[in-house]
């Protein structure tokens, strides 16, 4: 009852202040726009706005960032679905099935599902955040250390490899290629230099944003250009048919599963929405009877990914507000906003500034709801970009991707990496390898390597230490069972060998 009263109080404070309302809607629209443009993500907007928040009231500054967070995570889904350009890494799995749906003339359904599920995932996550921030935060940091996070990543990779490509071996080789790319640069624990070939820029490793842009957007341009040259190109049909209630209801289990996965990944400091989206997608594939259909334009793929990444947003606020531990880059910037106002996120915020906390909670709740309305309006217009002929659209996408790759760190090498990934992606896709698997290997590989090294240090370099940590053990067993299942499916079961994700 207290929670509801506090929520009403926060809502009244939010909408009773015209400046607050203005900032709220500015954040909603700004997050969606910046989230939708590759490279210039919500983080770019947040970095631009950070100094200006010093001139805002503390509750307005924090609220603005939290609203940008909610809508920015959703915004990247649109370009992922329409053009195979994930606006941010957490939207990459959305492109796996969203873009094939666009090619099949079902862009409206994919975008509609992304809108609905982002709103549902974000709103429910927000409600849980309001009810149980403190106990969940305490549980998460005590139950999940590096061994558990490594085991989670291992499980994720095991699932991804089993669904990633045309054959069992190509799936694993794709994942391994991603893992190999992930080890370029300084090792995350000892700082040893690896595969840098005396190039200082490689010490920072291969950044996953240009890699994603290359493997997804650039390679897709090459594929479509080849079709255009050979006369087999077909422009995607324009459709603004949103999914029906019945279609969405049919995926209710996927939604609930992704909410749980997304929330769970979101509350782990340093993990966040990207792992949430990949895990949500992977689990959808694992539990589906139609594994073969994933990657070819299955609505459930979009639903699972978008529900999970938005479910991570509310969850990521839990360690931030309750413990002062940001879960990702944007929540880390929120710490800066707090500090500009002589405040620190953490347990004292609830005691010293309860009004601020509840304005932020209310704003996040309504920001997720607003995805429904603004998202529908936005997509009704943006889908029409597909009407642009390929010969004009392709250079625009290449330009956007190039700007996006360069904008990450302002380094030309990132643009070079993007084009190398684009060319490699083109040939790998033709050969039946999974570019999604490579990207997944790259992203999870960085997290996995670091947490594995930390886990081994914590467990005094004894593998048996994993056996004494029930959650880690459970996840490792699940991973090994998944690998065993995929080996059985690939070599001993009659019928199709594995799902295809082109």
């Amino acid at each position: 009852m207290d929670t509801f009263a506090n929520f009403l109080g926060g809502t009244a404070a939010l909408f009773g202040d015209p400046v607050g309302v203005l900032i709220f809607f500015g954040g909603v629209v700004g997050g969606m726009l910046f989230g939708a443009i590759p490279g210039v993500s919500m983080l770019t907007l947040a970095a631009i706005l950070l100094p200006f928040t010093a001139h805002l009231k503390p509750e307005h500054g924090i609220m603005l960032f939290s609203v940008i967070y909610c809508t920015g995570v959703y915004g990247g889904a649109i370009t992922a679905i329409l053009f195979n350009i994930p606006g941010a890494p957490e939207n990459a799995p959305t492109a796996f099935d969203g873009y094939p749906m666009t090619q099949k003339g079902k862009a409206g359904k994919a975008v509609g599902a992304a809108v609905m599920c982002s709103a549902i995932g974000g709103t429910i996550s927000c409600i849980v955040m309001m009810i149980a921030t403190a106990p969940i935060a305490d549980w998460a940091i005590s139950a999940f250390g590096p061994p558990e996070i490594f085991a989670l990543v291992f499980f994720g990779l095991a699932v991804a490899a089993s669904v990633g490509a045309k054959t069992f071996w190509k799936g694993w080789l794709s994942i391994m290629a991603g893992l190999m790319i992930a080890v370029v640069g300084l090792d995350p624990v000892g700082g040893m230099e690896r595969y840098d070939f005396n190039m200082p820029y490689l010490l920072a490793g291969i950044h996953f944003i240009p890699t994603i842009l290359g493997f997804f957007a650039v390679s897709e341009i090459f594929v479509q250009a080849e079709k255009k040259a050979t006369g087999s190109y077909k422009a995607p049909k324009i459709s603004v048919d949103f999914p029906t209630f019945r279609e969405l209801w049919a995926h209710k289990i996927a939604v609930v599963r992704s909410i749980i996965i997304g929330f769970f990944c979101g509350i782990l400091p340093g993990i966040g929405a990207t792992l949430a989206a990949f895990m949500g997608y992977n689990e959808a594939v694992r539990w589906s009877k139609d594994k073969l259909e994933f990657g070819k334009g299955k609505l459930e793929g979009v639903i699972s990914s978008e529900t999970a990444n938005n479910a991570a947003t509310g969850a990521a606020m839990i360690p931030l507000l309750a413990l002062g531990l940001p879960g990702g880059a944007l929540t880390a910037m929120m710490v800066g906003v707090f500090q500009m106002h002589d405040m620190e996120p953490g347990p004292l915020v609830f005691i010293n500034s309860p009004d601020l906390v509840w304005v932020v909670f209310a704003a996040m709740f309504f920001a997720n709801l607003s995805i429904l309305f603004v998202g529908f309006l936005e997509t009704k217009t943006i889908i029409n970009l597909l009407r642009i002929p390929f010969q004009f659209l392709a250079p625009m996408i290449l330009l956007l991707a190039t700007v996006g790759a360069y904008a990450v760190r302002g380094l030309v090498i990132d643009v070079v990496v993007m084009f190398i990934a684009g060319v490699a992606g083109y040939f790998l896709r033709r050969s039946g390898y999974s570019v999604a698997g490579i990207v997944l290997g790259l992203i999870l590989g960085k997290i996995g390597e670091q947490t594995f090294a930390q886990a081994m240090q914590m467990l005094h370099f004894e593998f048996s230490g994993f056996l004494q940590r029930p959650i880690a053990l459970g996840l490792l067993i699940a991973g090994f069972l998944t690998i065993g299942g995929s080996i059985y499916g690939a070599f001993f079961r009659k019928g199709p060998k594995a799902a295809t994700m082109s």
């Binding site: 305490d138 000892g190 010490l203 360690p319 880390a332 500090q339 760190r409 240090q457 914590m458």
Partner: protein
Amino acid sequence: MTLRKYLISAAVAAGFTLATTGSAIAACATDDLPAEMAGPDGFPARALTMVVPYGPAGGSGQVAQAMAQAVSDLTGVSINRDHKPGGSGTVGMTAYMATPADGYTVLEHIDDAASAHALDSARPNPAEALIPLVTSQITFSQIYIRTNEDRFTDWASFVDWVKAQDGKATIANVSKEGSMERVTMKFITDATGMQIQQISFDKGAPRYGALAGGQVDALFEQPGDVRKFLDADKFKPILTILKEAPEAFADVPSLTDAGLDFEPLFRFRGFYVKADAPEERVKWLQWAFQKAYCQPSYQKYNESKFMTLIESFRDTDGSKELITSTIAQYRDVYKEMGLEVR
């Protein structure tokens, strides 16, 4: 040859000792600089760029933002921050060294630049390849435990407990090879005879979460970075890695109190311009950045990060001295540790 002999750097030690006791009564360091200074030939005619070799949310990103704001408030000149994270500052440094030496691009960097040069002389020496405009943050480290910890409650009981664990005790830090944290931990373990497993977390949140969640037994950190946990009474310091404890941590044993005889290493952050930039422009930048250090907004920021407990300010000469002595300190320690010094 004792390690201590290698480590003694009289200038640094004396400077920090004096600063520890003197900062509370001193006026701000650059109050005597002129309130205004005209740039040479209209310099700067456009916004400056500040290359920051770390992300916007960490300690470097925050100090860069605070200093850029203070310089802009003082001079009316905008400063665009260009974050180039990666490779422990190497990427940003390399990118900066490729920029024109026209004074329009400045660099933020931390003591990692000095330790990187100490390990590999091919890396730029910040005191020679660059001109330090100002060092605006110098801080010390502490060892923290959870406030509700019941296995040990202070430094003495912690050392006893760690020794009884036979190498199984853990401490979270940034234990990259040759880092300030790793070197300092070597000093401590050598001096106490305790064995402790260092768990390396390169980002703050998981590092602090590891202590708060009980994943590790202790944490090595600077006080400004964990202030919120101290204010919330979640963490408590059990050792201050300084010869003398500052007033704010008077009840926490210092190195001297704990009987640990080594020269402490410091975390410092400052701002630089290329050594071959036009001299008159460099003079204006030195004035702007040193004067900005005393802007109320910057002082308030430093205070919030516990950066006023010891004197954080060094001008160009003071910064060069600090960097040079730090490089010498690290180089000797690295040799002592058996690392390959190039």
